[in-house]
Symmetry: C2
Subunit: 363 residues, 2 copies
Amino acid sequence: MKLQVTQENLSKALSSVGRVASTRGTLPILSNVLLKTVGTRLSIAATNLDIAITHYIGSKVAEEGSITVPARLMQDFVGSLPGGVIDLTLEDNKLHVSTDQYNSTINGVSAEDYPVMPAIDGGVTWTISAKALKSGLQQVIGAASNDEARPVLTGVYVHSHEGKVYLVATDSYRLAEKILPASSDEINLLIPANALQDLLRIVSDHDEDVTVTHDDQQVLFKVGDVELVTRLIEGKYPDYRKLIPKDFASSATLKRSDFVNITKVSSLFARESAGSVTIRLDDATGQVSIRSVASQLGENTASADAQVTGEGTITLNSRYILDALGALGGDQVTFSFNGKLEPCVLADPAASDYLHVIMPLKS
Amino acid sequence: MKLQVTQENLSKALSSVGRVASTRGTLPILSNVLLKTVGTRLSIAATNLDIAITHYIGSKVAEEGSITVPARLMQDFVGSLPGGVIDLTLEDNKLHVSTDQYNSTINGVSAEDYPVMPAIDGGVTWTISAKALKSGLQQVIGAASNDEARPVLTGVYVHSHEGKVYLVATDSYRLAEKILPASSDEINLLIPANALQDLLRIVSDHDEDVTVTHDDQQVLFKVGDVELVTRLIEGKYPDYRKLIPKDFASSATLKRSDFVNITKVSSLFARESAGSVTIRLDDATGQVSIRSVASQLGENTASADAQVTGEGTITLNSRYILDALGALGGDQVTFSFNGKLEPCVLADPAASDYLHVIMPLKS
């Protein structure tokens, strides 16, 4: 292998695939990245056996070949080099990396020892704008669970329903649902949230279409010169639609920034009580007020003006409220619930494509 | 106690004293801050028994008084409030903090239970520009030791010598010496580096004079409306002057940014060897080159053009080189040594008030 690439391209490719290479696994070679000439391009790839990312960059290839090298060292090293042309030459599994000022030799491991990168043959293909996919994922992904005890909840449920494409995530304490600007009747995927976190990092740099191809076991995302493949989660997603209340006894619409501020201040007094704060709506005063009590430290009540219908109180985890308010766009937010034992719903009164449901705490 | 302050002033004061209040100590009250009316001002103070910081802010005092409240909660809470007037009212050791939108009660502990803040009567007083003190401290403080086994090395040695005032710090592996633009014959202080770290945070906001007052046991810094008192370290500082070499067999002057870059890249290959890199000067090629070897990962040689006198090699900890280059100002740096067993010296060829000495590693 003998070729030239630019520092800028190589550094960017190593960053986008590097996060998948892990030093914590049982297979030492998975902490390496695979470099491989493909025609006039160099492919830079890494996998953790669940997720694989491949990034293609332009290259002046004098001699074909492939090698794996330690991902972290290669990424830090190339990232520290000045911009410009880098020569890569392979001799006996040693990769020589050189520029005018720098000459280094990185000990590699034969590409033959690297796991085969997964590929999808056939399957269903659809496309969506990168921007819509990215903002939709960002609105739901925080509601997915980290608890491996219930694997289905660690995924984002991407599915079509009555012709529309939905993104849904829930950890059973809160649920987020987004309708994407795409139409299909044949999507039914449960994608690991951590793979989608990796996808978000890749999509951030691209403002074009994303091509999604999936079969029963895997899904492939193509964004520009980058490909991400991940296995799907097996299992049946809960029938979440029946959990979302439609009519409400109490509802308030207020400035989202006001709701964020009064929740943040109240959460400081809720550290002892695992974030528990009590929200009160009162249509007589036209106010939303949040109360928190820290038995030793003191107590706090914060309030904001709102358009209120009905009255009532509900006790929620302040962190979940802040997460929901962060995921919502728009200036205004509508907060609605039916008594203190049923889930509440937060939504943007100006947008019907997103809602966030939070289960109450017992109080 | 009943008074009004602005959120901006109170929040700033709580931040500057808050770092000294610790929840880790054995005396629970030391995690509180002391609020106390002093004439038409409110003093906000905290101590960890070694260091005490007091910040005075303007206040509309309706009723005098004092109380201590949890530092972290008070700081986070006031920091989260919107700008404007805050009312503070004390009732039965409960501090009511209120604005238009927010009403909170913070449970306090009587100010009588708080340790007496240390004070200095008499002693020597001198002044120095905050800017000069700050930049001088920043250049030496990183060379002080963290190892409590040798307490004198955990301090910065501030002393007068032949009419000039010096700042010195060393952890026995490297040493930094700065000459301040001040003159005196009677300064001989060993000040804990962590107290000076706190001082640096306070000084950063002030571009005026700092007044320093000290006796045998304590030193007081006054900067604007803030006072910091710290105990001094007892013991005799090493006679460091004889350790600084004056003449050199090999010397190179190069761009500081070049030296930083080649050291950073080399340090990536020096992780296995505790940062050890070998620097080579060669007057025949006019180059400084740095070589590092990671037995498993590979090896690297990086070089930069320099004005070189003599030739030789020396092995150093790359982190210490980067620290020294970070502490040096100026475009150029002169790097000088006498063989591989003696300390090397880094200095700015355009400034004679600062030098940095690094002991070599055995190689």
